[in-house]
Symmetry: C2
Subunit: 210 residues, 2 copies
């Protein structure tokens, strides 16, 4: 059976609770690794290089771009953010399923480069509940809430590009579903060509092969 | 969330243990229904109409074919065997995941008519273990064992048409894997178009919708 890791992109509306799901998934199961992004923005507070981010200078980052060392990257408000290929490959080869928490544009770029990537999208049960959660946080002004809702409406247009949609109604149920979805994907025929060739060869040569 | 049932075809080499897996799956979970085939062969022993098979006369069966009441059918050694559509539809509508235990030719016919069908293939860990199991049954002559192995080699050619491959190494592990695969499929975006449209509509109308 194929036990190379699967590359997974998790996206979701702001307020979908995907961050909490990721934390629980990593806490409960030891077969996952979270991809660490590289960025040119400065470390904040307790952030440690190689933990929250790989902190890079603009020069270093642009060298990584030029040398094809990033799976995807983007520039937000003057800072680069990207996914270093080496760390991801290393984790996949060791059998870990590697999770990238990125937005749809990045998700589609990753899928184009690595067609085996599994795209998961997390959503609350309804738009009303999404809004409730955003308002309930109490940390955002109503303007920001409305802005997030409009952004969610835009993001929803890309939903069909994802492989699976998870409805975060109950946290633990959602974590288990995500785990089962990813583990089930290991049994896809398209991920097990080597095993299938092997059993075909064995069957064709079975009389000789004894 | 979409809770209409999923139509599932389970195939596997003779000796893969798929019959035992089906029995366990139906025993352990209540969301599955096994499709009951119609046949023109005569009932044997304790077989009951509507349980093991729907027993039909040739005339009745050919009428079912003519009226498009069968999902697929075939003729083996002078008898018709087929899958009645009505029973399957009824179970799917009630939310049950319906399992058809048929061979690859039938599987491909079903997939053509119902593209949402999930195709699962059960295999032992290796050709050597398959042969061991067939020999171990002690009910078959070596000629029959060799014939089954040749048949398995033919069937293996069609493996890539299946969605998932399950390796039956340990029965309970395999039953749980099959259950997780089927339940995870319920979260495929392609099976949740209605929910996705609904959340898009809600998000687009969120300001008015309150």
């Amino acid at each position: 059976m194929n036990r190379r890791g699967i590359l997974i992109v998790v996206s979701g509306f702001a307020g979908s609770g995907k961050g909490t799901i990721m934390n629980e998934l990593l806490k409960q199961y030891d077969n996952y690794a979270l991809s660490i992004s590289a960025t040119t923005r400065k470390p904040r507070g307790q952030e440690v290089n190689g933990k929250e981010y790989f902190f890079k200078t603009t020069e270093e980052f642009e060298k990584m771009i030029a040398q094809g060392e990033l799976i995807e990257y983007a520039n937000y408000v003057g800072n680069y953010y990207g996914t270093p290929k080496a760390y991801v490959e290393e984790q996949l080869n060791s059998g870990k399923d590697v999770i990238l928490e990125i937005e749809i544009q990045g998700a589609l770029k990753v899928k184009e480069k690595f067609p085996d990537t599994l795209l998961l999208f997390v959503t609350p049960p309804s738009a009303a509940i999404l809004k409730e959660r955003l308002v309930g946080r109490g940390t955002e002004t109503m303007d920001v809430v409305e802005q997030r809702m409009r952004r969610a409406a835009e993001e929803a247009e890309g939903l069909a590009s994802y492989d699976y949609i998870l409805i975060n109604d109950d946290l633990q149920t959602c974590v288990l579903q995500m785990h089962n979805i990813i583990q089930s994907e290991h049994y896809r025929t398209s991920r097990n060509r080597e095993f299938m060739c092997q059993i075909k060869d064995e069957l064709n040569g079975n009389v000789k092969g004894e």
